[in-house]
Structures are given as structure tokens and as C-alpha cells.
């Protein structure tokens, strides 16, 4: 009886763990599937990341890029599920100040002619300026304007917060008949490479 119970429990654990095991290969997807730059001066940046993404669902990876560095960002994905080409957009996230004016309502004591409080209060409305900060997104590059390129190289002249936004349209060829959600979730890797911006020409 104990053995049967034990076997059943084990079977249930394996059954529940199966989808988890199926997802685990995504962890290092970029390390094994994204092609490195042919330029050996590029080294892999620690902000590279892999994740499971769903067809039609926008996913973004937020990273920091430093001034005086050149970067190469490439995206690789499981084409059987997510399609041959992923839409990619690089956006800068900026925290911009904005001055707003708001009405502040307070109550203050009413004074008589001699300046003595009468015991009554009155409502006073004042306008106060306040500085708030808003998150603004600026599109820096969009691969739909670059023949759906799956990689981009650029120089960075100012340290920035950027997001690499991805969306997959899905594979267009025939798919298995099985009707389960798992067939629109696939692995994607974002490989970030960097090097100090090299100068052109002869050095003295």
C-alpha cells in the first residue's frame, strides 16, 4: 500500500514537473543559439538574457548601455514556434521632469479687526507648483524599417537606459494539430556584446 502511494506521488510530481522541465532549456538559449559577432573585439555582455515568450505578446529586456562603448545586439528565437523574424525595437527610457500646478485647500482661522481669532475658520485655496517625473519612451531603432534585421550594431555616446522590445508573429507553416497553448510559447535569446568604441585612422 505504501509503495503504491509512493509510486503515485512520484508520478504526480513528474507529471507536474514536466512542463517546468520543458521550459528550462530557455535559460541559456542565447549562449548556444545566437551567433557571435565575427569581430573578436566584441565580448559578451552580462546583461544578455533568454526567456520564454509568447506569440503576439510584447516582451522587453531593460538594460544599461555605457558611453564610449560600441554594442551589438542580436536576437535568436525558436523559429518553429515564434516565426523566422521577430519584430525588434530599441527604445530609450528617460525620466523627464514636468512642473505641475495644483490647488491646495487649507483652513485658516478667521481674525477680527484687532487680529484676534474669532474661533471660526475659512477655506483657503492656493496654487502650488510641484515637480513630478514622468517616464518617457523614445524609439531609437526599429527593425521594421531595416528589413527585419535580427541584429544591430551601434555606438553609444551617452549612458542610457534602453529596452529591447520584441514581439513574435508566430510561424506561418503548418503546425501540429494539438490544440494547446504551449505551441505558441518559444525560447528567445537576446545576445548583447560590447567593446570600447575603437577610433578610426592612425594613432600618433
Amino acid at each position: 500500500m505504501y509503495r503504491m502511494h509512493h509510486t503515485l506521488t512520484l508520478a504526480m510530481v513528474l507529471l507536474l514537473a514536466a512542463p517546468a522541465m520543458a521550459q528550462s532549456p530557455c535559460t541559456d538559449y542565447h549562449k548556444f543559439n545566437c551567433q557571435r559577432s565575427g569581430d573578436k573585439r566584441f565580448s559578451i555582455n552580462g546583461q544578455s538574457k533568454s526567456a520564454a515568450i509568447q506569440v503576439g505578446n510584447e516582451t522587453e529586456l531593460n538594460i544599461i548601455i555605457y558611453r564610449a562603448q560600441d554594442y551589438r545586439i542580436s536576437v535568436c528565437a525558436d523559429a518553429r514556434i515564434l516565426g523566422e523574424e521577430i519584430a525588434i525595437r530599441l527604445i530609450e527610457k528617460v525620466r523627464e521632469p514636468r512642473d505641475v500646478e495644483e490647488t491646495v485647500v487649507t483652513r485658516e482661522p478667521v481674525l477680527d479687526a484687532q487680529g484676534v481669532p474669532t474661533g471660526e475658520t475659512r477655506e483657503v485655496r492656493t496654487r502650488q507648483k510641484q515637480r513630478i517625473f514622468e517616464e518617457v519612451e523614445k524609439v531609437l531603432w526599429d527593425n521594421t524599417a531595416h528589413e527585419m534585421a535580427q541584429e544591430v550594431e551601434f555606438s553609444c555616446t551617452a549612458t542610457k537606459r534602453i529596452a529591447i522590445q520584441l514581439i513574435a508573429s508566430g510561424a506561418t507553416d503548418a503546425k501540429p494539430r494539438r490544440s494547446t497553448k504551449e505551441f505558441d510559447i518559444g525560447c528567445t535569446g537576446i545576445l548583447v556584446e560590447h567593446m570600447p568604441t575603437p577610433g578610426l585612422g592612425f594613432k600618433k
Binding site: N45, Q54, I64, R89, L140, T157, S169, T180, K181
Partner: protein
Amino acid sequence: MRTRSVITIPLTALLLAACGGDGDAAQEAVPGLVIGGDDASASGTSLYQMPTPNELFSLVRDMAGEGHRRMLNPAANADRYVSRRARAVNFGIYSTDLVYASYFKLNVEVARYYLTTKKLAESLGIANAFTDADFIRLESNLTRGDSLEVISNQAYMRAYERLQDEDMGAVLAMVLAGGWVESMHLVIRQIEAFGSNESLMARVAEQKVTLEHLLFMMAPHLDDREVAALHAELGAIQAIYDGIGEVRSAPQGPSASGRMVLGEDVRLDLSTEQYQELVRAVDTMRGEMTRPEGGDNA
């Protein structure tokens, strides 16, 4: 509403896979999707990655002279960090010190801080990020600075990934907070030791951007009281940064490498007073973070 999470996507995917459901929609490709368009899912996922300390140190190394071991948090304090917050924050501090020591070729300190960081990693449950095999590699490469950089950086990355994989978001947030403060402390002390330097000052000003990024990363864990407290303290430093003037301009021609320049040039006008205010705020926060606690962690 975009959800912010470093670790939730595998879980979401796992749940979707486990739950199954109507797959008809999944059977059809979704042609011509536009990022940010109406056809994209409203509930996108945001993942955050923080740059490793070596990126900053590699940028400042050439302009900052030699490294100074007196700037590091004394390794002997490691046994006296008992609470979860102190262990996590000082793990971030010591691992940043380790990377600094390897970048500035403080070879004896590299070995010392590797062991110190390993000790705190054990107490946080991520011991296997720092292996004995790596320590042997490290010892045999003590005269080869480049190898030390690689080994210490690999250990840092493994710890970082381990914290992400193990769903330890709150601890990771505290580790990164400690690492950010220590990076600032080390660059500021380099400026003091090396003399005022415009390029180094500019790097301090640019840390405004990494701080913003860090605060976003911490935001999903604000229900943790210790993370919330650190977030508030870092918020006070952000308020100083918010006072810095920022001038944006279109890039002047292609970059020196011939590659396209991404986005605008940004100049941050950090005044001497604002710099001093930043120094005081960072010193106060680091002093509080590194203060040994009563007990013994050994």
C-alpha cells in the same frame, strides 16, 4: 499595464503550458504585429538586467590610476553580518570589491575577497556560485590579472543568475543595492586618490541612469520591508541626481568607429556642490550598510 518582473516569465509560461486551454488562436500566425500597437498584448512582460560592476571598472580603470585596498570593506567584518539584509547588502558590496580588486590587480585581495564573498554566498544559500575549483584556478592565476578578472566576473554572474533562478528577487534587489553603493563609493574614492578628473566626475554623474534602473528593478519587491527601506534611501540619492542639469543634443556625425550613433548625446552638468552632496549621501548609506552587527555569522 506592463508588469515588471525579472523572474516571472518562466513561471507564467510554465502555468500557461500546464493549464493548456484553447489553442486555436495559437495555431494561427499573427502577421504584421507592431510593437506598441493595438494588436500587441496589453500585458507585456518587462525583464531587467543590471550591468555587472566590471563594466564600470573597465571604463574608469584607465583614467583612475592604481587601486587602493583601504577603500574596500574590511574582509574581517564578514562574520559580523547576521541579518538577512546585512548579509545580502554586504554580499553585493564584497562581490563588487572582488571585481574591483581583480580589475586593479590587487592580487592578494582578490583571493581574500573571493573567500569572503563565498562565505556570505553560503549564508544566502547560493554557495555553488563560488566553487573550490574556481578558487584553485584563481590561486594559480594570481600573477595573471586578466584571468582574475574573468574568474571573479564569472563568479559574480553565477551568483546573479542563481539569485534570479531561485526566485530570490528581494535578496537580489538588496544585493544589487549594496553593489551600486559600493561602485559609487569606489569611484568617488578613486577621484579623491587620483585628484579631480572631469572624465571620472562624468562617470559619477552617469550613475544617475543606473540608479534609476536599479530603482525600477527593486520596485516589484517593495512589499518586502527591508527592500522598501533601501529603496527609500536610494530614492533620497535619486533626488540629488534629479537636480542635475541635463542637456540633450543630436549626435555630431557618425561615431569614431563608423557605426551609427544610437540616440542623442547627453551632457550632465554636475556641480561641485551637487557632487559633494552625492558623496555625503553615499558615504552615509555605505557607512550604515557596512556597520558590523553584534553577533558572529561564522
